[in-house]
Amino acid sequence: MKTKPRIYLSLILLALLFSGLAGCASVRPWEREYLADEAMSFDPDPLETSWHLHLEEVSEGSRGGYSGTGGGCGCR
């Protein structure tokens, strides 16, 4: 993991960028109708999402980044 300091620095910069932009972006509570629609949800069906993440995790060499999943694999 030679890239560790670079990754942490990128994360801090990105977090600061997000927090800075948050001050500029001003979606008011009464303007959230579209954002509240289920078609705008990153995870509308948690059961379906956990099943897909489990399939990806046991079929591929990478894992994570979306949410944690536990348990065995039933995959040999």
């Binding site: 591929e60 980044g65 348990g71 039933g74 040999r76």
Partner: protein
Amino acid sequence: MKYLFFVMVSLVLLLDFTAKHVMAIDPPEDEVSMVYNLYAGGGISVRGPAVIVRKEMMGKTAIEAGARVDLVSSASIDVVTQASKYSEERKEYTLGGSHIFGETLVSASYTLSDEPDYTSDTYAFGMSHDLFDKNLTLSFRVARSWDKVGQNDDPDFGWKDFSRTLYTASLTQSFSPRWLVQFNYEVSADDGYINNPYRSALSTNNALIDEHYPDARTGQAVVFRTRYAFLEETSEGPGRLESAIQMDYRYYQDTFDVRSHTGKILYQRYLVSNWLAGAFYRYYQQDAASFYGDRLPVDQLFRARDKELSTFSDHWLGLTLKYKPRRRTWGWIENPYFKAGYSFILFKYDNFTDPRNGELYSKEANVVSASFGFNY
């Protein structure tokens, strides 16, 4: 790891103190979700139901319980070339709860997974915080599992320990009434018996030799996701939400030297007001682990012939359809929905051969799901 934790905690405190106005997080709802899943491909079949029930209490607290059963039948390429076809059952139970403290949602859960040769106990703790009129949501999650790995065919194998810890941080920002962006970072740390006790590697003269993995693995995943809404045009200006598009990218690397790129594009559209159709395409490409080999020298210290650690790519293509009846109340059932999904997956391996014919291996899989849910 301590440094990362310190950075994240500092960011939470910094954002907390600088927030000018904070909105309350949405209260929980009484909810039931059920799904039946099926996966069939590469000689493996997995099918079974799952259910989750959530109960709201006093407006700020929710408890939930879930269960899943997977019936696994396997004649995968590893199984047919090195062992015998088998069937087994995996059961998973989850108990969790959440509470809203002021403007922060705190949640915790416990998951037990049990199969004849594998058990897992997972504890998870998470928190989410809305800032800047709900324009920014900051989330953290820590999960740790303690697993036991067995071997059905060898009573002398006993049970080997394996543990995994996940640290996840997430930022979700709404940039406009139609545009969301999310950034996730996750670190995973594995310790213990990482091998698959059933699989062997192949030597350069095609003899079966034991696999040998390092006993620790640390991975990092960075995910960027964005979602944008398209609105119906009416004579009076923008109307209801007509469709939405989502684009994801993930970069992953770990101490096995596995590096991967994942891209996904998802499009959803209301056919009529109560029918929501979706289509997605996902592409995944990874480079092999440093100690992976289709054929390996006998004197190499670490050895693996796990196709999931080889160089390969896969393509997923999927469709979903969700229906919400116009009648919203059926006795004590409210807001029911029905959903069906189908996806097709093609895996193409670049340096994993089928020992039966010596050709590069590839496989196809079909994934089907049917779900039903409601409030009560």
